[in-house]
Symmetry: C2
DNA sequence: ATGAACTTTCAGTAAATACTGAAAACAGAT
DNA sequence: ATCTGTTTTCAGTATTTACTGAAAGTTCAT
């Protein structure tokens, strides 16, 4: 029935929109998040033109965000025999998606943050005023915490599959 | 020595700047993150004017972001006897900061996301095509994962103090 | 009731970010 | 070497987001 087809497309569009909103709240380009949602819910790999059409965006925009997604490891390029152009396919396993995002954010954000904190500590190490001691102490606390977060992230990135969820669920849930 | 005082201020400024960059990457207004960094590393509570001066921002901007930070539970308003104006003081315990952020993001983002995913499932539940089944399956996977994240967040929010870090460190580290 | 000290709002503006579309570059196929 | 289908780049533009500053609102002492 064609009504069902419409219903599915409508729901999928709602999801894509919502995923875009969420992405934006987490500091991810809205369009990139939408493309990700689109591919995650696509039964087959899509080419640039299909993405452009589905989201009504320009070639440049589609191109940039597709390549960024590849950079995040969230989608990959596939080719079809006989076809010359590139198609894109999303990783669908949710745990795997989470792992890749965690890994990438660690590399891009946690590691630099640690660097800053260590520099701040080093720069104020010897100063012997109330303010400096307090500042140093705060940097130290933050460093401990971020180091902790970093370790968690590594741990997560080394766990495989949905098994990890089930295991953790038993522990936490 | 006044040279030390300068060194501390310089380092603190570097930290404030960097915290702003980080915040922006995580979808938090840069200025809000900077004010947070400023207050986190302030030995004493600061008034709106001090914040304005330190970051060279307007009254309106300072006001909005200070109130947003209060809304996130990351700073609180304090009053000094004899003084009429409001002063602001940051929560300094890093674990407590993390708890509050986790709690707030859950409320603002995870809960609505769950709602969306459930709607998407409901809307496509009965449809009997390959595409619909795949879509439903993806929404289901995501829902499981987000539910899991939600539980973790609750767990975290109910743990107290830096003890939690040490405990978890033993487990993970 | 008046005014001083302070907070809040918001219309207008500035800055940052994202997007378009067309041109250039590239990669086979002939 | 040229043509065709495709990807990539990027200057210019649009959109979104954040900020300013002044005016209105609030609160409290006199």
């Amino acid at each position: 029935m064609t009504e069902e087809r419409a219903k599915l497309e409508e729901t999928r569009e709602a999801f894509v929109t919502q995923w875009g909103v969420m992405g934006a709240q987490w500091g991810i380009n809205r369009t990139m998040a939408q493309i990700h949602a689109l591919l995650m819910t696509s039964a087959d790999a899509m080419c640039t033109d299909s993405v452009m059409e589905a989201l009504e965006i320009s070639r440049g925009n589609a191109h940039t965000n597709l390549k960024d997604l590849v950079g995040w490891g969230l989608i990959k390029i596939v080719t079809k025999k006989g076809e010359r152009k590139e198609f894109f396919e999303a990783e669908k396993d949710v745990w795997e998606i989470f792992r890749r995002v965690a890994k990438e954010r660690k590399r891009r954000e946690i590691d630099p943050a640690l660097e800053t904190l260590r520099n701040c500590k080093a720069a104020t190490e010897g100063i012997d005023t109330r303010e400096a001691k307090q500042f140093y102490e705060q940097m130290d606390q933050l460093e401990d915490f971020v180091t902790f977060a970093s370790k968690i992230s590594d741990r997560v990135a080394s766990m495989k599959h949905g098994n990890a969820i089930k295991l953790a669920m038993k522990f936490f849930g």
